[in-house]
């Protein structure tokens, strides 16, 4: 298939662009920045061709198989990166701020890398009857454009949170963070091994704790910058660790378990690291996570001074975040609505409170909170950036967490599928 090759070229281009954008920040050469933009645009054009190519190829496979390439995990992830890059290019053009690229391109590249490390199949498979609906096409299209806008908002919020930190605070902050991480990890391993009941209790408890922390940050983050910086370092660590862990899984499953690429890795998630059968591997994974957390936390200020001369003012960052959310939220709304209309045409129920629907609604609530806090209560700055980051975590959870985490939580969940 020619389109697969083109997709790989685009992935490579985004990787190169990401490196270029980061070197642009490091070496401060306009030429590098310009090259980064050109490479990104070239990758985008190649990916656009690949998208249409895949569309055409699906029709070549049979008239009844042909469809818009927006109907499985692979296609949606590809579309997500495509829209993220498109929105990024528009933002770069409009605000003449190339430094964003160092933050947005990783989001796009990580999503594409995720396809490979998570072993998501790129085969064009025929659609099951329930998915044969035009509403599905609109649903995925609109949702992912929205997700992409939120992704860009997230990247800019992360920049904001970094640039807004004057002082990373005492090392005690980091150590208590790492301490809490280890404590929760030990509690998690212990409780989940007891019984499914304790497993549910643990996840519920963890959810409540994390939410409480988020709410604290949103309410009081402006007065506790070091805590917000810890949150920033945590978000970056989480993204890197998740991706690395899935990369390890990929290598582990292919080499040691002889699983074919493209097979569902979902049931074996993190078996190469955090849920390995070997205790040393588990301990090592956590030690590595803590080390990375420390590294990111301690290097954050250096990154900030590096960015200082390139970044537009904080007010502009805040404004761009808002604009992205003002675009993303109506799109998310449209995505939820088209999903509901589709469900009604297929099953006669427009809303059934299934985990996916519920999480999309939770995401919608989070961004609704953002908009009301801004419009009516006049909030700005740190708190807004935290809500935007939390919102994107909810987006990620809606999209991947529901399938990966929640369905694995139930002993009977796997059987029902």
């Amino acid at each position: 298939m020619e389109s697969s090759l083109l997709f790989n070229i685009a992935t490579l281009a985004y990787l190169v662009a990401m490196v270029l954008y980061i070197s642009f920040l490091a070496f401060r050469k306009e030429g590098i920045g310009l090259t980064a933009t050109v490479v990104t645009a070239a990758g985008f054009i190649v990916q656009t061709i690949a998208l249409f190519g895949r569309w055409w190829e699906s029709y070549q496979m049979g008239a009844d198989i042909g469809r818009v390439p927006l109907s499985n995990l692979y296609e949606s992830l590809v579309f997500f990166t495509w829209s993220t890059v498109m929105i990024y290019l528009i933002v770069e053009y409009k605000y003449k701020a190339r430094a964003f690229g160092a933050f947005v391109m990783p989001v796009a590249f990580l999503a594409l890398a995720f396809i490979n490390v998570a072993g998501i199949s790129s085969d064009i498979t025929p659609l099951v009857p329930a998915l044969k609906s035009n509403w599905l096409f609109y649903h995925v299209l609109i949702s992912f454009l929205g997700y992409a806008a939120f992704g860009v908002a997230f990247a800019i919020s992360m920049v904001y949170l970094l640039m807004n930190t004057d002082d990373r605070g005492k090392s005690m902050n980091l150590f208590s963070g790492i301490g809490a991480l280890f404590l929760l990890a030990v509690a998690g391993y212990f409780l989940t091994s007891l019984s499914p009941q304790w497993k549910t209790a643990f996840w519920l408890g963890l959810g409540v704790l994390v939410l409480a922390w988020f709410i604290y940050l949103i309410v009081n983050g402006a007065n506790n910058r070091p805590q917000v910086f810890l949150f920033w370092a945590g978000c970056v660590t989480l993204a890197v660790v998740l991706l690395l862990a899935m990369g390890v899984d990929f290598v582990y499953l292919i080499t040691f378990k002889n699983m074919a690429s493209g097979e569902s890795f979902k049931k074996h998630l993190f078996e190469g690291t955090f849920v390995s059968h070997s205790l040393p591997v588990v301990v090592l994974s956590w030690v590595f996570t803590a080390g990375l957390f420390w590294f990111i936390w301690s290097q954050g200020m250096k990154l900030k001074s590096l960015l200082q001369s390139y970044m537009p003012g904080l007010d502009l960052l805040d404004d761009v975040t808002y604009r992205m959310i003002a675009i993303g939220w109506p799109l998310l709304t449209g995505g939820i609505i088209t999903g509901a209309v589709w469900a009604n045409s297929a099953w006669g129920t427009y809303w059934s409170w299934d985990p996916k629907e519920t999480w999309s609604l939770i995401t919608w609530f989070v961004y609704a909170i953002y908009l009301h806090a801004r419009y009516v209560r006049g909030w700005k700055g740190t708190q807004m950036a935290v809500i935007s980051a939390v919102g994107f975590l909810a987006v990620i959870f809606t999209y991947l967490g529901v399938n990966l985490v929640l369905s694995g939580l139930h002993s009977y969940g796997g059987l029902a599928e």
Binding site: G62, D64, I65, P126, L127, V128, P129, A130, K132, S133, S195, P196, Q197, T200, W203, L204, G207, V208, L211, I215, D319, A326, I327, W329, P330, T333, G334, I337, A340, V341, W342, N344, S345, A346, W347, G348, T349, Y350, W351, W353, P355, T358, W359, L361, I362, F365, V366, A368, I369, H372, A373, V376, R377, V402, L406, L409, H410, S411, Y412, G413
Partner: protein, 499 residues
């Protein structure tokens, strides 16, 4: 003397104030976002046995008490949704009169005090005297599609204009849409129902079996006002809802994707042909339904949802037509294992056997049989014996999808049409009179935020004064949204006037 407020008045005022706060809205949104998580971690509406397998007995009892197994329909969750809707309604009613006042307020030329508070203003001197300046200002206003109100007094020419007044409605469109969705959902719960119907091929039913009864009927029956139309069976079976007409399943079938070798096991479509009959057995219409394409009659919609086998002998439907002819031919039905005489070809056809998954090798013509999971009819194949006065003429296979040519030595062709009567179609049946209210809300919810976020109410004022023989132009503006964007336009307008 000030009138003393009654206790009712005070309470009402307090309640109104409580519900009109945006703080409440944000708090409710936070609470809703958090508690919604519970129902995604704990699986909803599973059987008690499943829960007991997963949780201890005390936990099950606790969760049961808290309603965590059907969380989104518990009284406390519904109350949260209700509070949010009440909050939205009160906020809307509270603020709308003020907005309306702003929207309908007549445009007035700006005075000095008004100018003072506006952050966006500019004073420039235009060459060429008053008349030239006035002309220029009007030209620029026209170019930017502002229709100005002109006032003129001695040595003072004033313009006032506004655009995007209606963008102030965006937030109300959004909020009303959510209220509509809530009202629509309630309407559905009160007057609608969800039901199912497993209908064997060839059979009809005038009732459907309820998953949940319309609340309205329950309330009316409990109050003794009206009898519920629902039929309860004595054996404690599923309550049935009469339709007032018959629905009949004429046939059900699954289509499979075709691979290079023949059908793959992957279903491409489930479909049933349904007929609607009046209670006097008069046919109203037929419809072939499939997933994503249901049948609706008198407010009740039938969705293709599942299927299954029934233990009954099948009937094979065959098509017989002369060779080398484009005639449609005739359809013959033969019960499995039985024989039927077909006068047009003067032969008796016997249906010897049936297999759910047979395939013909296109080169050798040989028919092979495969195992199919759950006996699914992936490529139904029937073996036929053709007799002439009890003497076998030949035997042959006909199948749904034939890669080769079936053995047909005589001057007619027999082809497979359908294997009938061994399966039922599973229909999901719903009545939801609130769905159109919800959909209206959906449409408004798509439009409202766009108006609110991307529209803005922009006002522009200009004063042209004569000072020391020169025309001094003061330009001022305001926008309620997207101020940065307005600033750009404003600066452009200033520049164009100064030209």
């Amino acid at each position: 003397m000030e009138r003393q407020k009654g206790i009712v008045e005070i309470v009402a005022e307090k309640v109104w104030k409580f519900f009109s706060s945006v703080k409440l809205a944000v708090i409710l949104l936070i609470i809703l976002a958090i508690v919604s998580v519970i129902g995604t971690v704990i699986q909803q509406n599973e059987s008690p046995e499943k829960y007991l397998r997963e949780y201890s007995e005390t936990t099950v009892q606790l969760f049961e008490m808290l309603g965590f197994f059907d969380m989104y329909h518990t009284w406390w969750f519904v109350i949260l949704l209700f509070l949010l809707t009440a909050n939205l309604t009160v906020c809307t009613l509270d603020r709308f009169p003020h907005t309306l006042k702003i929207m309908t307020a007549p445009l007035k030329p700006i005075d000095d005090d008004g100018l003072k508070v506006l952050p966006l203003k500019k004073e420039i001197t235009v060459k060429g005297g008053m008349e030239k300046a006035e002309e220029q200002v009007l030209l620029v206003f026209k170019k930017h599609r502002y229709r100005p109100l002109e006032t003129r007094s001695a040595g003072l020419f004033q313009l006032a204009a506004q655009k995007g007044v209606y963008s102030r409605l965006g937030v109300y469109v959004t909020h009303v849409s959510i209220i509509l969705i809530f009202v629509g959902a309630l309407t559905g719960a009160f007057f609608g129902f969800k039901a199912f119907l497993n209908l064997p091929e060839g059979q009809a039913s005038s009732v459907v079996y309820l998953r949940n009864e319309p609340m309205w009927d329950q309330v009316m029956a409990a109050l003794g006002i009206a009898k519920s139309p629902v039929i309860y069976s004595n054996e404690g079976g599923v309550p049935a809802m009469p339709l007032g007409y018959y629905v009949q399943c004429n046939n059900f079938d699954v289509d499979y994707y075709q691979g290079a070798q023949g059908p793959t096991g992957m279903p491409s479509e489930y479909h049933s042909t349904l007929s609607v009959y009046t209670m006097d057995k008069e046919k109203v219409f037929d419809k072939r339904i499939r997933v994503n394409d249901p049948l609706t009659y008198r407010g009740v919609t039938f969705y293709q949802s599942s299927y299954g086998p029934i233990d009954r002998p099948g009937t094979v439907f065959l098509n017989i037509r002369p060779k080398n002819s484009s005639a449609a031919g005739e359809t013959v039905a033969i019960e499995a294992g039985k024989a039927v005489y077909v006068p047009s070809i003067k032969r008796t056809i016997k249906a010897l056997s049936f297999a759910p998954f047979g395939m013909r090798n296109p080169t050798t013509g040989e028919v092979q049989f495969y195992r199919s999971n759950n006996e699914e009819y992936i490529n139904p194949t029937v073996e036929l014996e053709i007799l002439n006065n009890n003497r076998t003429v030949y035997k042959t296979y006909v199948m749904k999808m034939d890669k080769g040519a079936p053995y047909m030595p005589e001057d007619y062709l027999i082809s497979y049409v359908h294997y009938f009567g061994t399966r039922y179609t599973g229909l999901q049946v719903t009545k939801d009179p609130g769905v159109w209210v919800v959909y209206t809300g959906f449409i408004m919810l798509c439009i409202g935020p766009l108006i609110a976020f991307f529209g803005s109410h922009r006002k522009l004022w200009v004063r042209v004064q004569e000072r020391k023989g020169q025309a001094v132009v003061t330009i001022a503006g305001s926008a309620n949204r997207n101020r940065l964007g307005f600033e750009r336009v404003f600066n452009q307008i200033v520049e164009e006037i100064s030209k």
